[in-house]
Every structure is written in C-alpha cells, then in structure tokens.
C-alpha cells in the first residue's frame, strides 16, 4: 500500500521552502484526514518496511551506510533540538511573565525592562524591613501624581492595576481568536487524545506555537488564577511537531511522530517544574498512550537538555529553574502524619469540588448562550479577579511568588508578615535552627488574609480554567493546597509551642526545639491538592521531591498524595483531564478504565438488526462503476472484501482513502480501464474473454490481515484488543462468515452507554 502517498506527496510539495514555511502541511493523498484516528498497526508496519529498506540498501555502498547511520541518529537529533527550543521558550516566558506581572504595579526607571526585584538588585538603599523599596522603582501613582502613599495613591494604583490586567487579557484573547483558536485552554486533554492516535490538524502547528507562547505570558501576567505548566506541555509538543518535519522518518509516519511528542511532553513538564525525572514520569503516566522503552530514554534526554538550556538562561537569577524551589532538611515526625493525612483529605475534597464545578461551568459554556461571548467572558473574569485580588496582598502578588513565600521556612532573616514571630532578643542560634516561637500579631493577620485568599482562589479558579486563553491549573491547585497547608502548619506549630506538655506533643517536641516546619505542611498541602485534581501518583511525588531537593519528605508527600487520590476517587472516577475529554467527546479509549460488563461482540457490532446490511466489496464481481457508486453513497472509512455476497467468506479489508486515489489514478493512467471494467482483488485475475474491458487489479491496496473476532467474543476482550493494539476497526465473523464490523467509535459509545453516560456525546470518529 505504499505507492500512492509517497508519489503524490512529493508532487504537491514540489516547490520552495518558503511555501513549506508559510503553509501548514496540506494533507496528502493517502494520509489521514483531520479528526480521524490513525491505524497504529499500519504505521508500525510502514516503519518496519522503511527500516528494512534502509538496512538492505546500506550494504550497497558507503554513502548508503552513512545514510543508515543518520537515520538511526535522527531521533536523538530531534530530541536535542526539542530540548533546546523548549528550554529557550520557557526562559523567554519566565522572564517576560516576571516583568509584565510587575508592570501592573509600577515601572523601573533604571531600565523599563527590569522587574521589581531586578530593579532593586543593585540598590544600596534596601533596608532589612523594607527589602522591596528602592528609589529606582516607582509605582504608577508615584509616577503619575508624585504621591507614593495615601488614599488617593492607593485608589490610583488600584485603578491602574485593574486597567493593565484588562489590557493584557483582552490582548491575549484577541490574539487567540484572530490567529490561532486552537491555542486556548490547557492543551493536555487534547494532547492526550492526539497521542492515543487522533489527528487534529493545526493543533500542533507553528501559529499555535507562536500564539500560545505569546498569549500565555499575557494570561499569566494579567493576574488571572491560572498557571503555565499545562500550556508549556502544549508548547513543547508543538516544538516536537515542528522538528519532526526535518526527517521523513517522523513526518511521514504518524506512529513514530507520537513517540517524539511523548518525549516533547516530558521536556515541557521538565522546564515547567525544573524536574526532568518528574517530567518523564508525567509523560508516561498522564499524557502518553504507548510508551516503549526507547521513548523513555529519549524523553529523559530531551528533558535534561531542556532543563540545562533553561538553567543557562537563568531567568530567576539564582540558577534555579522554578521560582519556588526550597531546600530544607529539618526532620519531620511520625505524629505529624495525622495533619498530613488531613491535608490529603482536604486535597481530595477540593479536587472533587473543582472537577464537578469546572465541568458544570464548561458544559454551560458549551451548550448555552454563554459560549457566544468568549471575549466578554474573559474580560469579565479578569475584571472580577483583579478587583478582588488587589486589596489582599496575598492575591495581588503572582501565584508563583505566593507559593514561594508559603513554602519558605521562617528563619531569623525573613521580615514578611507571615514570619512575624516573637523573637527572643538574646537568642544566638544559627540561621536554620530557630526553635518554635510564639506567633506575633503579623502572623494572625496573615492567617486571616490567607483564609480569604483561599476562598477566593477556590471559587475563581473554577471559572477561569477552560476559558478561551491558555490556562493551566497546576499552579492554582498548588496555591490552594499551600495556603491550606501553611495555615494547618502554623496551627500545629502554635499548639506545640503553647501546649508542649500535652500527650501528643510530649514525646517528640521538647520546648526550645524546632519541631514543626509550617513550610513543609504547605508543600504537602500543595501536593495533596494537585493530586486530588489530576489524580497523578508517582509523577506528583517525584515532581515535588525534585522541587524540594530532598528524599526526606517522600513519606509525607506520598501519604498526602495517596489519601487525596483515595478520597477523590470515592467521589468521582476521573481526573480533570479525562473529565474534559469526556466533555468534548474525544475518541479516547482510556487504558485506566476497566470494562467489567458481560456484553458480547454481537451486541455492539454494526449493522444492528434494524440497519441496512453491511456494505461489502466482492473479490471479482463488481465493476468500477459499482464501486464508485458504493463509495459515493456511503461514508464508511473502509469496506470488507468477501469472495461473493452469498458465501460471505472474508478475504480482507480495503480503506477508503486508498481506494479512491487508486481508482482515480487507474482511470487516468491505465489504458482500457472504463466504468465497466471489473475490479479484481485477487493476485491472478481470470484471463480476459473476448472484448471485455481491461480489469482493474487492486490487489496491492488490500489488507489481507484484518483483525477479526467471533461474535461470541466478550466485549471485555474486544476492548482490551482495541486498547493494546490501537485498532480502528475490527471485523466480526461467525463460522468463518462475515457478520459485521466494530469500530472504535462503537466501542466508545458502548462504554459510555454502560457507564450511563450519553453515548451520543462521542462525536468524533
């Protein structure tokens, strides 16, 4: 079946690299169409053919052998390029977000491109109490009216903050709507579907890459409650798709391309969190469908290259890859597992609440008039977010900074409100061994503000995720968890300080020792909430431990992650990404679902009893005209080929996309093929009689090994076969005779029906 796609492909893409750049790839004849599922087995066999051809040619000459080597190394070259570009883009995004977030509050006179922290970097006027103030940084009220403090200054700052936020988000949504509508949302549900074999043309294109990068910065800078991790995975996969075009090994084979995309997804998470191993595990657990061992090693390579590139750009000025990297080594105690498990329960409950709320809101957006005003919706949500966020210092700052502050342990050197503990002036302990202290008034004020911030974030994130702007949800979930964790941590710390003679504290907490680290509770809370929403397991723990740089906290993190997953699973089976896949009706056959019903293949196959009989082609009794009529009247993707309509003995299966160009080509090129010619699907058609027209031999496009199951095969086995082999369709036979056909869409609809969901919601093929 190889001939057609190669030949016509090169014909059409003849001229100009300029054209290759300017246009998205036009699907070639014989290639898959938009919104279709690929045939994994066919792609695999094509790749094996290609490889065999190269190996056999490499024995001919030195040049061929070099070409063979280059082919083998092409995978690594692609990984290197993906890592470089993903790291570069992540660095650009981090720097730009840093600057634009601070632009809402003021501007640096020493150079407008400096953010607040960078502006005051070289200043000698920073004091211990006011580390943020320096004369080069001016807030907008200072610039415009010359008044740094006071009620009018506050109101002016407020107004300008809201205006900047609105400008950024309006700009973002207009760019998305105008240039790349596929750039909105998180991207992970769609990438999961693409990696399972679905084709969405343009989703990983160049314009989507550009617009997603640019608007991600705008979205995060506008103060909306969203993160950049999910969109970074999309950006990295776009980079992967971009570099696949360099080698025909990947550009012509959709199955191989998805191996590259899996590795690119790992690189995306790696730069988002500075966690290469976590990235690979995330790609393995959450995003990829088939993950051969070769991909594991290559993904790790891509993730490492991306992390190194980001490190060399050094966006945060301290050689760290993430803003909230912390490193502490204070021990934790067994008795603290109780609050950790409570945090896990909170995480699970929040996850359930978020998933239900968000899906309900997205469904409303999909089905009602709300969905007709995307730009207005974005502006309204931004306005509400900005108006409520400004008064509270913990929501005014960017969410990453909030998480960083919450994760930070309070040594003697912190002067923030959260670290306003009552210090013993005669204390001379070194920095990292400060004992537990009583909380000062600043801490209590901080707790009130944090509680308000928590409620606000819980509510607003439900409405923000899924808007027509790039939006991720890792950072908001971690923020919610970190706030809750820190509050619990401070509570436990104060209880231990004031009541150290209680039974629960007596054994492990002596007065004057550093027992409780509220920062650790914040981390555990963040992990719990993230696990409750996404239902990640191993990858979550690894990402968190790579963030903290220590193996010591694996047990608390695992306890919280496991608890939150159990609690969340008790209320709903699926995580947020699978829920969005169901909502949009993507044809995603989840490998985590278990099919436990006792239906048989006959119950699901087509044609049903009320439907017209199966459209088949016969081996040697149909004319070209009949075949063309059949193609025109139906819209099936393929037709089984039987010996005769009476015997119904199956010979093979022929795909529509191979049949049409074959017939068209034959009509144009071969002499004597007319509408009355008989189409033969055999190797040796019978000899011509008299003046009958030339036969059309279509033996080459026939697939002689279509998958078949018998009618009494349980659906459990059928679902397993579809999942493990990546089939698109499967024929059903009884006593050797063709009975019907089962497509992936039928299987998905059946599963949805069995789960009491709407089977009509599976929209794609």
């Amino acid at each position: 079946s190889a001939g057609y796609d190669m030949a016509t492909g090169s014909e059409m893409n003849g001229s100009g690299n300029l054209m290759d750049f300017l246009e998205e790839s036009v699907p070639e004849v014989g290639m898959y169409e938009d919104f279709y599922t690929i045939d994994w087995l066919r792609e695999k066999s094509r790749d094996t053919d290609r490889h065999r051809k190269i190996t056999s040619r490499s024995k001919e000459s030195l040049w061929e052998r070099i070409k063979g080597l280059l082919d083998a190394w092409s995978g690594w070259v692609v990984m290197l390029l993906i890592g470089l570009l993903a790291g570069t883009l992540a660095g650009v995004i981090d720097l730009a977000v840093d600057w634009m977030t601070d632009l809402k509050e003021g501007v640096c006179l020493a150079g407008f491109w400096f953010s607040h922290e960078q502006c005051c970097w070289t200043s000698n006027e920073t004091t211990f109490e006011d580390r943020d103030k320096c004369p080069q940084w001016k807030t907008w009220s200072e610039l415009l009216v010359g008044q740094p403090e006071g009620a009018s200054a506050y109101i002016l700052n407020y107004l300008i903050y809201v205006l900047w936020a609105l400008t950024f988000s309006f700009l973002g949504v207009s760019l998305v709507k105008m240039f790349a509508p596929y750039a909105c949302g998180s991207g992970i549900p769609e990438i999961k579907t693409i990696l399972s074999g679905f084709i969405i043309r343009g989703y990983l294109g160049k314009w989507t890459l550009l617009i997603k990068t640019v608007t991600l910065v705008l979205a995060v800078s506008s103060g909306l409650s969203l993160g950049k991790e999910g969109p970074l995975v999309h950006v990295a996969c776009c980079c992967g798709n971009l570099f696949c075009c360099l080698f025909s090994k990947y550009s012509k084979n959709e199955g191989k391309r998805r191996e590259v995309l899996s590795a690119a997804a790992a690189a995306g998470v790696s730069v988002a969190f500075g966690a290469p191993i976590g990235g690979v595990l995330f790609s393995l657990e959450e995003v990829s469908y088939y993950f051969p061992l070769k991909t594991l090693w290559r993904s790790f390579f891509a993730a490492l290259v991306a992390a190194f590139t980001l490190r060399s750009i050094n966006p945060f000025g301290n050689s760290r890859l993430v803003l909230f990297y912390v490193e502490y080594h204070t021990p934790w105690y067994m008795a603290e597992l109780v609050p950790f498990i409570l945090l896990g329960v909170f995480g699970g409950l929040w996850g359930t609440l978020f998933i239900r709320g968000n899906i309900a809101w997205c469904r409303k957006r999909k089905n009602t008039k709300l969905g007709r005003y995307p730009v207005l919706e974005v502006i309204a949500v931004t306005a509400i977010t900005a108006i409520f966020a400004f008064p509270n210092q913990y929501t005014r700052q960017s969410t990453s900074e909030l998480i960083s502050e919450l994760f930070n342990d309070c040594g003697a050197l912190e002067s923030s409100q959260l670290c306003d503990y009552i210090n013993d002036p005669n204390m001379t302990r070194p920095v990292d061994d400060i004992p537990d202290r009583a909380a000062g008034p600043g801490v209590y004020a901080a707790i009130w503000q944090l509680a308000l911030a928590l409620i606000f974030k819980i509510v607003i994130t439900i409405f923000t995720f899924g808007m027509k702007m790039p939006s991720g949800l890792f950072i908001p979930s971690m923020a919610v968890g970190a706030i809750a964790g820190r509050m619990v941590g401070i509570g436990v710390e104060q209880m231990a300080y004031h009541h150290h003679d209680w039974f629960i504290f007596r054994s492990w907490c002596r007065p004057g020792a550093d027992c409780v680290t509220p920062g650790l509770y914040a981390m555990v809370g963040a992990a719990a909430c993230l696990g409750g929403v996404t239902r990640m397991t191993v990858s979550l723990v690894v990402i968190m431990f790579e963030l903290t740089g220590g193996l010591e906290y694996i047990v608390p993190l695992m306890a919280a992650a496991v608890t939150s997953k159990w609690v969340a699973d008790a209320f709903g089976k699926v995580g947020i990404y699978e829920a969005h896949i169901h909502l949009n009706g993507y044809p995603f056959l989840d490998s985590k679902d278990e099919f436990r019903h006792r239906t048989l293949a006959t119950d699901v196959m087509r044609p049903r009893r009320t439907e017209p009989p199966l459209s088949v082609l016969t081996q040697g009794s149909m004319t070209v005209e009949d075949v063309e009529a059949l193609i025109k009247d139906t819209d099936y993707n393929g037709f089984p080929v039987v010996v005769t309509k009476e015997s119904e003995r199956l010979i093979g299966f022929v795909q529509r996309r191979d049949l049409i160009p074959a017939i068209r080509n034959a009509r144009k090129v071969q002499d004597g093929v007319v509408s009355n010619s008989i189409v033969y699907f055999t190797e040796d058609p019978p000899p011509l009689l008299g003046n009958s027209p030339c036969p059309l031999k279509l033996w080459r496009i026939l697939n002689l090994s279509p998958f078949t199951v018998t009618d009494h095969t349980p659906m459990e086995t059928v679902v397993d076969i579809f999942r493990k082999l990546g089939l698109r369709q499967c024929l059903v036979t009884r006593s050797g005779r063709l009975l019907g056909i089962l497509t992936k869409k039928d299987v998905l609809r059946h599963m949805a029906q069995m789960a009491n969901q709407d089977p009509e919601s599976i929209m794609f093929n």
């Binding site: 014909e11 491109w113 240039f179 050094n314 003697a412």
Partner: protein, 207 residues
Amino acid sequence: MAVGTVFMVLYLLVELAVSDSSKSSEDVRCKCICPPYRNLTGHIYNKNVSQKDCNCLHVVEPMPVPGRDVEAYCLLCECKYEERSTTTIKVTIIIYLTVVGALLVYMAFLMIVDPLIRKQDSYIQPLHNEEDTERLFCPGSLLAGGVGRMGPVGVQSPASDTRPFAPSHAQARANTVLERVEGAQQRWKRQVQEQRKTVFDRHKMLS
C-alpha cells in the same frame, strides 16, 4: 519550521556571545542578610566579590560589633552569591515586545486594510486553472469522508488567481513569489477560520 530553528539558533548565539563577554560589575553580587542582634537593627549588605569571598567577614563592612562578638554575629548572617544577566533580560523583553507589536500590526492589517484591498479585487473574475484543480480535490467529492464536511483542504481559492489573463496564459502561470505568498495566506486564513468555527462557534473542541 525553518524560521523556528533560525530564531532559536540566533537567540542562543546572542546569549552565548553575551555571556562570554566580561560580566558587568552590576551583574554579580554577594548578598548578606543580618538579622537584628542585641540592640542593632537588621541590615542587608551587598558587595561585588567573587564566590569564594562571599562570606560574612568579607562582605559585612563596616563590622558593627566589636571583635569578640564578630563570630557570633556572623553565625546569624546568611550570605548568598547571586548572578544575573541584564543583557539577557533586556534582549528577551525587547524581542517579546517586538513580536507582540508585530502581531498587533498584522492583526490591524488583517482587520482593516485587507478587506479594503479584497473589495477592489472582487471586480476581477477568478480564473480556474485546470491543471491545478486536477491536483487538488474537488469539493464535496469522494473524500468528504465520515464527518461529512470538507476539511481545510485544497478547495482552490477563487481570490488567489486575481489576474484577468486569457486562457492561453493559464498554462504559463506566473508563479511569482508574491502570488504564492498570497495563495498561502489565503489557505492559512481559511484554516484559521475553520479552527475558529470549530472552537468558538460549534464548540466541538476545547469546550
């Protein structure tokens, strides 16, 4: 694809060139934070020293405590070596603003100027080049396939052939770069329109 690689290579070269050159004195510092001690307030000390000299004794000047208390005081202080690259920040922000500006200009062009140009050309008859329609698919053809609609594929755009040549010129069609660019732009616009319909109007994808 080519432009992506070119952009990235250029950016990395700029970065390497910049980082190789001598670091400006502004970009490196050792920051020591010392908390309140006895009757002293907390203080932050910045000094431009190398990494091995980044400790309390070299940076904290003038030392606020007498000699015997220096060790106790320095135990409380925390010193960190930090470096940054101002040029990276400047280059990145300026590149980003340029890209956003270019996109805005293009958006304004597409929304305002383009319809005016297209209106002028609508007087001219579109010319269907026979050769080209053979290579591309006919609308509503056999390839319409399962979803029942044409993907963003190959319907010959009437507006891309805008010159009123006689049919004899059709064979020797001038393939100037401008014309091909325009053809590509039309195809891209149609693709974006399809995407917009899928996402914003029919809500078929991305809720």
